[in-house]
């Protein structure tokens, strides 16, 4: 079976994880979760996985039956430590990797979970709320923005509201000027593309095209002008080992292959 875009997204994520990284795995984000687990079961057995209020080590687990349900209190059975939310908020500055979703994501990686509209008292659509993202993304060493919807509705010129600040209005020193300790967003991961931020402007830039998408399709489905490099590199394909662990242990039911 050919490798799906969602599998490529997971493999890309997995490669961002260093052994020993302290990672908070968010709820209801099965693709990033798959990426983190893939890293954990291959090259990052010492990764510290924080799920809800639990610190877990999952390397002994043979296979995961439900990627959409990893982040629920059932993970308590794998816990090595249970933390209060206060302790976890205290620990964010030590965290290496986290993920941010967004109903809107702008050119500089600012995101919005608050709502759509101009009048906050009369929103067209009310988002779920910022959850933990504002504070986590201010402080975590690096983070990844993730969306299942690569469209001009989500990738917008300007967020109606900002629940997290990425690179603000651009520039490599944008976060330093705001005094934010965290390292900011590194990549935006969508079903069509992996995007990064240009070094000096921090404007969003196409890095990899995820098949079957094309550059034209990506440009057409982005609500602002993406930076398109002269030559677009191809993402190194998944190794046999990555694909084997992903398909037999992390995602045996095939959620990322459109089966579950």
């Amino acid at each position: 079976m050919p490798v799906t875009a969602q599998e490529l997204m997971a493999v890309f994520m997995s490669r961002q994880v260093n052994n020993g990284d302290y990672i908070s795995v968010g709820t209801n984000l099965p693709v990033p979760t798959a990426g983190v687990l893939l890293a954990h079961l291959t090259h990052a057995p010492d990764a510290k996985l924080n799920i809800l209020s639990y610190f877990t080590n999952l390397t002994d687990i043979d296979r995961f039956d439900d990627l959409t349900q990893i982040a629920n209190p059932r993970v308590a059975k794998w816990a090595e430590a249970v933390m209060s939310m206060e302790a976890m908020v205290n620990a964010i500055t030590r965290m290496d990797i986290c993920f941010a979703g967004g109903i809107q994501i702008d050119r500089y990686g600012n995101t919005n979970l608050i709502g759509i509209g101009s009048d906050p008292d009369n929103l067209k659509f009310r988002g779920p709320g910022s959850v933990g993202t504002s504070t986590v993304m201010a402080l975590v060493k690096k983070y990844y923005i993730f969306t299942n919807d690569h469209s001009p509705r989500t990738l917008v010129e300007k967020c109606d509201f900002r629940s997290t600040v990425g690179w603000d209005r651009g520039g490599a020193d944008a976060r330093v000027k705001l005094g934010l300790p965290g390292g900011g967003p590194q990549y935006v991961i969508t079903p069509k593309a992996i995007l990064d931020f240009a070094e000096t402007t921090k404007a969003m830039r196409l890095k990899y095209v995820l098949p079957p998408a094309s550059v034209e399709e990506i440009v057409a489905n982005t609500g602002f002008e993406l930076v398109i490099p002269g030559k677009i590199e191809e993402m190194k394909p998944p190794t046999e080992e990555e694909l084997r662990v992903l398909r037999t242990r992390v995602d045996p039911k095939g959620l990322l292959r459109g089966k579950a």
Binding site: P120, N122, G127, G132, A138, G179
Partner: protein, 298 residues
């Protein structure tokens, strides 16, 4: 020698301590450990004008919005994760008017800390550069006296009554979650009165046999209510999983309501809120078979 007093009271008595217009703090986390038995009593009595300060919320807050009980909402999330990223009453709020003071979890924690630390404000980095300071009057900009960039600071949020669900307590109010405490300890400490509903009452000796498991010492607890299955339809740590079916029943009814068909939601209130006069009646309405089926897998 005088005897130590019990703080165990009836659910109805506990609910009576929460008047219209109160600022209530709700513990738990999204779909886990929500103090549903106490909240259902408030729903039954249609408490009005509440300010709700809550940890990431599940559908209980959506229900309270639907019933018109909420005047102001301070919570970083309302939804049920994969079951429902947003609740039905997110959609243009269905004509319910109330104010939202936007916070993320870090900001909420900061507001609660400011309250119980007795300080007039605390900096919160998570709000810097976001829309939160525009959307929340409790947030202001302040210069850094040590020479760095300005920061956002948050004012204290005070809670009248905190409502919390936990695994067990003794009659003196020593509470053990037997698992994660979530934000419950902070909500309790920021509150003037703390009511905890528990799955089980245990002896003081049992509490003393594992004092490091005590998550809320009796100092922080004013009243304990015995409410087995009291978190249903949310999950209760170490006791039962969430009842996805009942949540979906509510979601369907809510969505019908928003599309103009009010009958399913009226039926839902009748069946699960208004007709059962007591918590035990509610459990009977849900069905014991169904409740027992939610037992935790190994």
């Amino acid at each position: 020698m005088s005897r130590r007093n019990s703080v165990v009271i009836a659910l109805e008595e506990a609910a009576a301590a929460i008047p219209d217009g109160a600022v209530i703090g709700i513990g738990g986390f999204v779909t886990t450990n929500k103090p549903m038995a106490l909240l259902r009593q408030l729903m039954r009595e249609r408490r009005k004008g509440l300010t709700v300060v809550a940890a990431p919320s599940g559908l209980e807050v959506d229900m309270m919005i639907a019933l018109g009980m909420v005047d102001k909402l301070i919570t970083p999330y309302v939804g049920a994760e994969a079951i429902s990223p947003v609740g039905p009453f997110h959609s243009k709020w269905a004509g319910r008017t109330f104010r939202v003071e936007e916070v993320d979890l870090g900001t909420l924690v900061t507001c609660l800390r400011a309250r119980f630390q007795g300080v007039p404000f605390l900096p919160v980095m998570g709000a810097v550069g976001t829309s939160l300071p525009e959307l929340n009057p409790n947030l202001k900009w302040l210069d850094d006296p040590f020479g760095g960039p300005p920061v956002v600071v948050a004012a204290p949020v005070e809670i009248d009554v905190a409502i919390i669900h936990a695994s067990q307590a003794d009659r003196y109010g020593n509470v053990q979650h037997r698992g994660a405490v979530f934000v419950d300890n902070l909500i309790a400490q920021a509150a003037n009165k703390v009511i905890v509903q528990v799955e089980k009452l245990v002896s003081n000796e049992e509490i003393r046999s594992a004092p490091t498991e005590t998550t809320l010492p009796c100092e922080f607890v004013d009243a304990v209510v015995l409410a087995p299955y009291g978190a249903h339809p949310s999950a209760s740590q170490n006791y039962y999983q969430l009842d996805e079916g009942l949540m979906k029943e509510y979601l369907r009814a809510g969505k019908s309501f928003l599309q103009g068909d009010t009958a399913p939601l009226e039926g839902f209130w009748k069946k699960y809120v208004d007709r059962p006069a007591t918590h035990c009646d509610y459990l009977a309405a849900v069905g014991l078979d169904r409740l027992f089926g939610l037992g935790l897998e190994v």
